[in-house]
Symmetry: C2
Subunit: 140 residues, 2 copies
DNA sequence: CCCATATATGAATAGCTATTCAATTGTTTA
DNA sequence: TAAACAATTGAATAGCTATTCATATATGGG
């Protein structure tokens, strides 16, 4: 298996929100059971801050409406109004969601007159979809 | 750009929870503005059901604790107790989250005595991480 | 057989989130 | 300039979710 350390972006095992390894164990007396394992795994655990960033990103994709918006934009740029019509939703709801997609830099936009045209920002989303689609299609 | 239609798994543009294209538009009078665009994009929009499935999957990854659990398991299998100790969390919380990861088939487990050892189910998660890490590391 | 331990589970609570409604901004056109 | 319109924004509400606490199940040791 590939080294996860790299994958989880532990560029440096620097100071993190985590307490030091020897501190109190919350409940399970792990230090009595598998202290070695715990010691070994702790530096490989994704630091809380980076975990939160990544979770925030996945969270943006964790909504049917936003996924449908992205799918609509996969082929062509569209204005808010047309997106709303295509999804049969209110413009306000769509605008709120586009804001999130914008914040995560998944879409970009362009103003033309009183319309605002949105389009996909890069190809990362496409790759993510492919991976997840593959996973979801495996033996259920 | 790659054909999104394929990526979004519209195996068939069959009957879906969506109303027919001519039905009432909620608010924006899109049929007056860009009816052609709306018509064109609608069959490409990810169907609601599939969008929900995919959103559910991303939702599992949209939590710092679960991401950290996965990072802990990337290298080695670990029992609940050690995972809890490594993350400095209660066993109950960890167990609840592992249940979700199990439901999404991201981890598998093995019982040995009174311990239950968890490990990653496949390599999809690894790939997802890589893609997202790349995205997050691009010019902020 | 009883007790400690490992894990799982259910209920409860606090915090987050998606949509709606109302109001606002900025732009075009009449 | 007034009116219509596209889009955004803020507040409010309903629904979801992560953790905690309490309890349950099961396994191994004495």
């Amino acid at each position: 298996m590939i080294a996860p350390h790299f994958l989880f972006m532990n560029k440096r095992n620097s100071i993190e929100p985590q307490q030091n390894p020897e501190s109190d164990a919350p409940s399970c007396e792990a230090r009595l059971v598998h202290l070695d394992q715990v010691r070994q795994v702790q530096p490989e655990i994704l630091p809380l801050l980076e975990a939160q960033q990544m979770a925030e990103f996945f969270g943006v994709l964790a909504d049917p409406t936003r996924l449908r918006l992205l799918s609509a934009l996969a082929n062509q740029e569209l204005c808010v109004c047309d997106l709303a019509a295509g999804l049969k939703m209110g413009e306000s709801a769509v605008s709120h969601q586009l804001r999130l997609l914008r914040a995560m830099r998944l879409v970009k936009y362009r103003k033309e007159g009183r319309n605002v045209y949105y389009s996909l920002a890069d190809s990362h989303v496409i790759n993510l979809y492919r991976e997840v689609a593959e996973h979801l299609h495996e033996t259920h």
